[in-house]
Symmetry: C2
Subunit: 257 residues, 2 copies
């Protein structure tokens, strides 16, 4: 009395929780080749095939490619451990990359939210007016209403006179900053400009210290912002990053010496 359970494709597929197509595929690439019924060409899987399939799925869960899985299962020297160790490194690298990505995305989101104001008031030179109008309208509708409303309220609370003054001040800061560039990012004149820039931002929202760094980064990384800065001066964006870095470090030094 021999145990000779045989499964059809569909049976094995439902047992293992994969699609029939997947089994066809594994057959086609030589990963799991069942014998055929000579009379009709049907695939007949046996219990050993089920076990092998489970191994395949286990290794696939670990993220190995089907090629690698075939090597692992078919080579008698069974390089599983080495393969896994190599794979672990790849996973770690992907994780590091993901972390960096998330960080950048996160910062971009934060500053995009802050810069609903920023881009429209501080940096509107980079956008056409129609773009600007549509942009703002959409923004007010879509984004976290409290934040936006708070932020907009502050801006709207200013008189037209003051609005104009603020925008003029913004332009003046960048003009002065460019003029002071030859003296170096840590020079008193430049640092005074950065201080004014920091004050200036508070007309729109309350920036955190680290936020300043991220913002300066964004000026360099985001082509839209970067284009605006390049128009003013080709080296302005990287220069600001340096200057803001010095500025923030000094302020943090004061808070926790």
């Amino acid at each position: 009395m021999v145990t000779d359970t045989r499964y059809t494709v569909r049976q094995l597929a439902s047992i293992a929780g994969v699609s029939v197509r997947t089994l066809h595929h594994y057959d086609a690439i030589g990963l799991l080749r069942p014998p055929r019924d000579p009379s009709n060409g049907y695939r007949r899987y046996d219990h050993a095939a089920l076990l092998r399939l489970q191994q395949i799925l286990f290794l696939r869960e670990l993220g190995l490619s089907l090629d690698a899985i075939r090597d692992v299962l078919d080579r008698p020297d069974f390089d599983l451990l080495a393969a896994l160790e190599q794979h672990r490194e790849a996973l770690r690298e992907r994780q590091r990359r993901l972390a960096r990505l998330l960080d950048t995305v996160e910062r971009t989101i934060q500053h995009l939210k802050g810069e609903i104001e920023m881009s429209s008031h501080d940096l509107f030179a980079g956008f056409s007016e129609e773009q600007q109008a549509a942009y703002e309208e959409e923004a007010a509708r879509r984004w976290d209403e409290q934040t936006v409303r708070e932020s907009n309220r502050r801006w709207r609370s200013y008189s037209d006179e003051k609005k104009r003054a603020i925008l003029d001040e913004g332009r003046a800061i960048y003009t002065d900053l460019i003029a002071a560039m030859p003296e170096g990012p840590a020079s008193p004149r430049v640092q005074d400009c950065v201080r004014r820039w920091h004050e200036h931002l508070r007309n729109f929202y309350e920036p955190a210290l680290e936020g300043l760094l991220g913002l300066a980064d964004l000026y360099n990384e985001d082509p839209q912002f970067n284009a605006t800065f390049v128009k003013m001066h080709p080296d302005l964006a990287p220069f600001m990053r340096e200057a803001v870095k010095v500025y923030v470090e000094r302020l943090q030094g004061h808070r926790e010496p």
Copy 2:
């Protein structure tokens, strides 16, 4: 005097640090379509194209698909923030998944290292002898030499008599365990078996408490191990997981009440 710098594909490609093929591709999918020179059909990129390309690459860096990038750039309602927030969630999910994967891989590696011994002595029922021999030979060559040598030294230090006794004890433990299963995983009889199992493992290496849990998991997850356990009793592997969990919790309770 108009600034009308024009770039050929190769020029733009080298400026932006992408391949010519990539620009062809972006043209083909309508992401970046430059006007053509009517005389020869060459692509002529202008400065605006360069800026747009930089935007594309920035968003690509964030992991957005080219489809999504096209939507972001071509729709005037500029859904970038919403897209990024959605994308952030996807990234977080991928990160969670990666973390789980790494965890499993890590545990598998650890136990595979421990189970160079385990699988050959404790669980060799699941392997053919030739497989076993090749496996061990490879293992000794490939894996961290100190660990393996230490581990092997311990095993070799035993007399043949003791070796046989250890293997017999291993089989006896599982037999007793299966017999005690009806009394439940927390029952004294079962817990005594687990204690014996724990002792038994120390014949091969020095297992950490958490390692026991991972090992019991592996008995369930890895089809090779699982197959061995199913042969002994279909419910043995999941049952052991429960029993080991109780065992470890009680021991930890003693150490830090």
